[in-house]
């Protein structure tokens, strides 16, 4: 009598019908949250400093200047610093707090002032807080 009961219990199946739905929900979640790094392949030698820290700030835009002095705004090449300013201005029109003003800035360490300073000023003029990317030595 006891043996037959234990056998019946073993036949219980795990419900797997909703596994597909859960999996697809997870895919949608990852797709929506993923951010593709557009400036990953740019030739930029980052500057070094002891003071750099891992940032938790969410950036509204990414500005980069590669080793040849070309300026990129969110991965797309732009002609000059003025384009960066207008781009950031457009993005910051609906911002309500300082947390939404962070702009990532990557620049090649060897570039002279006349190349990077106009871009830094453009970000500041547009109301962005500069997140200057660097590395620890």
């Amino acid at each position: 009598m006891k043996r037959s009961r234990s056998k019946k219990r073993r036949k219980v199946q795990v419900p797997v019908a909703s596994m597909g739905d859960i999996a697809f929900l997870l895919i949608i979640f990852f797709l929506l949250l993923s951010e593709f790094a557009k400036d990953k392949d740019l030739p930029i030698a980052l500057p070094e400093s002891e003071q750099v820290e891992k940032t938790e700030a969410v950036v509204v835009a990414r500005v980069a200047i590669d080793s040849s002095g070309d300026i990129y705004f969110d991965g797309d090449r732009v002609d000059n610093a003025k384009d960066v300013e207008w781009g950031i201005r457009a993005l910051l029109t609906r911002t309500v707090s300082d947390n939404q003003r962070h702009v990532q800035f990557k620049c090649d360490a060897r570039l002279p002032r006349e190349t990077f300073e106009p871009v830094l000023k453009a970000i500041a003029e547009a109301g962005g807080i500069i997140e200057a990317v660097g590395e620890k030595p």
Binding site: V16, M19, G20, A23, F24, L26, I27, F30, L31, S34, A37, P47, E48, S49, E50, Q51, V52, E53, K54, T55, A57, H102, Q104, C107, D108, A109, R110, L111, P112, R113, E114, F116, E117, L120, K121, I123, A124, E125, G127, I129, I130, E131, A132, V133, G134, E135, K136
Partner: protein, 138 residues
């Protein structure tokens, strides 16, 4: 013979879309995304540069000035190393000062590389200073 073939065709038409392997495909896609995604957390220095027109009556005399001449750093017209520059800034105790007294003027020559500029920016920001870029008169 002909009847048999018809029966076979019917079998194909009556079937529903096979969805049994959907979950497997979905999980494979998840694994792909998990493996292919790189979570990059960059290291950076935060600098909120003030903007506005140059004021003639501004307290320029009291404001510390940092000069970047090529690869050299000058603090109040004295050449300093990066470590020394940090120590000098720390001595100012900018965190305890009111916001208007935290301003550090940053002046640079045309040949100043971004590496040096970044180090100065990082030192000022980490010591709670506010960087004000000095523009050259044209």
């Amino acid at each position: 013979m002909f009847k048999r073939r018809k029966q076979k065709e019917k079998k194909h038409h009556t079937g529903e879309i096979p969805t049994g392997s959907f979950s497997d495909i979905a999980f494979l896609l998840i694994i792909y995304f998990l493996v292919a995604t790189t979570l990059v957390k960059v290291q950076s220095v935060t600098a909120d540069l003030p903007t506005g027109e140059k004021q003639a009556d501004a307290q320029v005399d009291k404001t510390p000035v940092v000069n970047l001449r090529g690869t050299e750093i000058f603090f109040s017209d004295k050449k300093v190393s990066v470590e020394n520059f940090n120590a000098r800034l720390a001595a100012l105790k900018l965190a305890e000062q009111p916001p208007e007294n935290r301003v550090i003027m940053l002046e640079s020559t045309k040949d100043t590389p971004y590496e040096v500029y970044f180090q100065a920016l990082a030192a000022i920001s980490s010591n709670h200073g506010v960087v004000a870029i000095v523009e050259e008169d044209e």
